[in-house]
């Protein structure tokens, strides 16, 4: 009989014939063992990817991922699904490009279709100054071997003839496009990594909230959880959104604030937006899912929050951007809005580093760019956990960079997290 644990068109057809009864759970409901080599706190995209790459590439499967709720319950399932590597600064580009390359091979690697769809990310510009800033960015990407093109107005019109060109407050002048950018079915990323890690022997332990760390003589010994103590030689934190709360349990104060970002989806309509479009004169970015919903977002609400919901001013601000750019969506309806808690770091860039506590490692500060980073974040955190040294492409993501003045500030907003 065909092994339905290997996903393919053949297993799908075979299962169709026997009423779908042969499928196994995508991941086992593991119970905690007394101890592991490595415990990863946080069963989101980053934590699960970390476990997967540790097991797959670094040969260590004596790992548990502990998750306070259900896996994928955080930002991996709350984002606007965009992937791209169109960064500006040398500290960021190689990392995000590593992520992009991992996305490109993800489904074959995981044997799980996360619908990685490279339909292009178009960043519109509306002034000469913005064009030059995008040229600088595009050139930086090209120097790093990353695809990027500067489009003039005609080329943009050809791609999206129905945008508002004639009656705009800030007329479109052109765009920077990364054609390899696109979208990925967000939940499937968590499930795919969970399945991959599970099959390699990783224990995924849901409904286990970490309540404390066992630290003796400055060295980690394990985690206290609502499902009991779990011993570990090394503990990796991957709980973006709640990083400060988790770190506080270990006595650490981080250069991070938690902020709420809202995201939106419309009713399903026949597709007319091919790729990702970002407005350059306001906070609005949009794509259309394979189900037909317009998936869009804008700025964070701007105040610290752990509430996973926001307020109306930002909702209106986002749609003002939407109607400035694409007034044909006026009669399409908003179906659902929601909020996620972002680890907003002090320079807008992430942190993947050791902590002052021996054996405790930190991954966080993803601001609202965490989803696209998932594969590289997992790979680099796995590398750090396995080798005790930073991965080549994540060297800049040091925890002490603010103390030494080596900020990675893409937007130039300084130490004010709500402006990044």
């Amino acid at each position: 009989m065909l092994n339905s644990d290997r996903y393919s068109i053949f297993s799908v057809l075979a299962e169709a014939l026997r009423g779908q009864t042969g499928w196994k759970p995508v991941w086992r409901q593991a119970a905690p063992k007394p101890s592991y080599d490595i415990v990863i706190v946080g069963g989101g995209g980053h934590g699960l990817a970390t476990a997967y790459y540790l097991a797959k590439r670094y040969g260590n499967a004596n790992i548990a991922v502990v998750e306070k709720g259900w896996i994928g319950s955080g930002n991996v399932g709350r984002n606007t699904t965009i992937v791209r590597s169109n960064y500006l600064l040398p500290g960021n580009i190689p990392f995000y490009e590593t992520s992009m390359k991992l996305w490109e091979g993800l489904e074959q690697d995981l044997n799980y279709n996360a619908m990685v769809s490279q339909r292009g990310v178009l960043n519109l510009f509306h002034s000469d100054g913005q064009r030059d800033a995008y040229a600088r960015r595009g050139n930086a990407m090209r120097l790093h071997g990353v695809d990027s093109e500067l489009l003039d107005l005609d080329a943009v019109r050809k791609m999206y003839p129905w945008l508002n060109y004639e009656n705009a407050r800030f007329p479109i002048k052109g765009a920077l496009i990364q054609r390899r950018g696109g979208t990925v079915r967000h939940d499937a990323v968590a499930w795919g990594y969970a399945r991959g890690a599970d099959r390699l022997g990783v224990d995924i332990i849901e409904n286990a909230e970490v309540t404390g760390f066992r630290i003796e003589n400055g060295k980690i010994g394990g985690v206290e959880t609502t499902r009991g103590f779990i011993g570990a030689n090394k503990v990796g934190l991957a709980v973006a959104g709640n990083s400060s709360r988790a770190a506080a349990l270990a006595g650490l104060t981080l250069p991070i604030e938690s902020h709420v970002l809202q995201a939106f989806v419309s009713e399903g309509i026949k597709p007319f937006i091919d790729g990702v479009v970002t407005f350059g004169a306001g906070h609005f970015y949009i794509s259309q899912s394979d189900k037909g919903g317009l998936v869009f977002g804008g700025d964070i609400d701007g105040y610290n929050s752990y509430a996973q919901r926001g307020n109306l001013p930002v909702v209106e601000d986002v749609l003002e951007g939407g109607m400035a750019l694409m007034p044909r969506i006026g009669r399409v309806r908003l179906l659902r809005s929601w909020g996620g808690i972002m680890d907003m770091s002090m320079d807008g860039s992430p942190i993947i580093d050791r902590t002052p506590i021996d054996g405790l490692y930190f991954n966080g500060g993803w601001c609202y760019g965490g989803f696209k980073a998932t594969p590289a974040s997992g790979l680099c955190f796995a590398h750090l956990l396995a080798r005790d040294e930073p991965h080549e492409v994540a060297k800049a993501y040091r925890l002490d960079r603010f103390r030494t003045g080596h900020m990675i500030d893409e937007k130039g907003m300084g130490n004010q997290p709500n402006l990044h």
């Binding site: 709640n242 400060s244 709360r245 506080a248 104060t253 981080l254 250069p255 991070i256 604030e257 938690s258 701007g302 105040y303 610290n304 929050s305 752990y306 509430a307 307020n311 001013p313 002090m346 603010f402 103390r403 130490n415 004010q416 997290p417 709500n418």
Partner: protein, 98 residues
């Protein structure tokens, strides 16, 4: 979310802009540990889940900076004071501002 500005009354949060934690205070630049102190002031945040004091600015109103006590889990606001009063009280804790 609505904030009760002591000068203007209750207004929507879109009239205000947010700075952040009001528990960090600008250090003395002449102190021997000034560099560490300024690092902590500028970068380290307790980022509390619960009631916290934070600085808001009534940008579309009176331009007052306010110290707002707000629960970051529920967004419930329990207190709003003019930042200048709080700052004066901090400087001379004996003669608290009225």
């Amino acid at each position: 979310m609505r904030i009760h500005c002591p000068y203007c009354g209750e207004r929507g949060n879109d009239e205000f802009s947010y700075l952040g934690d009001a528990s960090v205070v600008r250090p003395d630049a002449s102190a021997p540990n000034a560099e560490d102190a300024f690092y902590a002031f500028a970068y380290e945040r307790r980022n509390v889940a619960g009631p916290t004091q934070e600085l808001w600015y009534h940008a579309a109103g009176c331009h007052a900076w306010l110290v707002v006590t707000r629960d970051t889990r529920t967004h419930e606001i329990s207190d709003v004071k003019p930042a200048q009063d709080v700052a004066l009280a901090r400087q001379s804790p004996v003669s608290t501002a009225s």
